[in-house]
């Protein structure tokens, strides 16, 4: 079905575009593996540079903003509530989601001084994503398996999920967010309030 708002010429152009690039959504495993290797090296470099914790965190955040499909992940996590949210709520959610995710991940990675990581297997998945296995090692603590799900977003490889020891970040967070909305009478605004509160708490912890 053609969307009524689309100009008439798109009705022709769209199927042609789909024919011309049938594999545009399919991620190439080799490319995904390279992408994770390069991104991982950048992250390790940023984490292990000299400087204050805040500086390291800022470097890590910049890399994550480039490498993660923030919009796609955010949409996936809000799940069925995306359609219920008003356009303003959707906009606010996107902004809040980006901030909480970047803050949480960079706070976590920022503390991983002396971290090393090893690239493992790269598996193409049926769902058009590629799963890249890595092992993360830190001095004094046990190594753990960290898997990266890489998808194709507008022709670029992007991280769409992080799986630590079998636990998917986006599945866990979707369950959590939905639980908050459900327990508050199905109001998406209650989640947005809670996210604002969380950002305040996180910035208080970071000291600014």
């Amino acid at each position: 079905m053609i969307h009524p708002v689309l100009p008439r010429r798109w009705a022709l152009a769209l199927p042609l575009a789909l024919l011309a690039a049938p594999a545009s959504a399919q991620m190439d495993p080799g490319r995904a593996g390279d992408f994770i290797r390069v991104t991982g090296e950048e992250l390790v470099g940023a984490i292990n540079t000299q400087g204050s914790v805040a500086q390291r965190r800022e470097k890590v955040a910049a890399i994550l903003r480039r490498a993660v499909d923030l919009e796609g992940v955010g949409r996936f996590i809000l799940g069925r509530w995306w359609r219920i949210a008003t356009p303003e709520e959707q906009q606010q959610y996107n902004r809040l989601f980006e901030e909480t995710l970047i803050r949480n991940l960079s706070a976590r990675f920022g503390e991983y001084q002396g971290v090393r990581f090893t690239l493992g297997r790269v598996q193409a998945r049926a769902e058009e994503d590629v799963l890249v296995n890595t092992t993360v090692e830190r001095p004094g603590t046990a190594a753990f398996g960290l898997d990266w799900r890489v998808g194709d977003v507008a022709g670029q490889p992007k991280i769409v999920d992080v799986i630590a020891e079998g636990t998917s970040l986006r599945l866990t967070q979707r369950s959590e967010y939905s639980s908050i909305i459900t327990r508050n009478g199905g109001r998406v605004a209650s989640l947005l309030d809670a996210m604002r509160g969380q950002i305040l708490a996180l910035s208080a912890r970071e000291g600014g």
Binding site: R80, R108, N133, T135, Q173, S178
Partner: protein, 270 residues
Amino acid sequence: MRSTLLLTAGFRLLLLAVLLLGTGCATRPPASDPEALAEYRENNDPIEPLNRASYVVNDGLDTLIIRPAAEIYRVFLPPQAREAIRNVISNLRSPVIMVNDALQGERQRFGTTLGRFLLNSTLGVAGVFDVATGFGLPAHSEDFGQTLAVRGVGEGPYLFIPVIGPSNPRDLAGTVVDIAMNPLTWLTGNAGVDAALYARTGLGALDAREALIEPLDQLRASTIDPYAALRSAYRQRRAAEIANQGGATQRDTGTGFGVGPGPLNPTGPN
């Protein structure tokens, strides 16, 4: 006596929390809302109000007693001593892992566990050193809950139990069977033996909680609804463990927590 008092206090707290949070079951969404219904099934938590009450109780006990005890354990014992204790305790658990490997028909993993037990008990000086990992026999975990799952037993509704943490009837029954199948459980004798067995249990609990200080702190800091996040993480983690897909690493002192810190030996050949 002290533990009885603690349990009574815990039970009263639980009752109070149940009264405060409201008893009963989670409301099942109507069939007209298939997405909500799918989510309800995915959460698998029909007694959510009771579980949440247990979570509140656990949080209180953990903040007041368990976490501080784990911190004291970390501060007073050097890392080498803690590693030795951890190695001894997991070596003592090897027979249980071995039986479960066998019951699941996992020949290679059975061999690995047997080899680990023999090497670490002898060359490793009664399990103090994990020499087996260096010989290419990395640690893995198994428990009777996983054996039941492999045999097709369903997990039943999600349960959150104070002190024990996230679980379900299948995994809980599995824990009881694991305790029963451990030869040490049935060892009695003089007061010295009994004291050693109590020490093993106590140190095992401290070690498990010590390893979870950062992961659980992180869970509390980075989530808005830690109960829901832990529930989802536990179910995902157990599914991966049952499929033996723990990645490079699996902690072999089964703590019941879905957010385990990873393996015991960072120097493994993975």
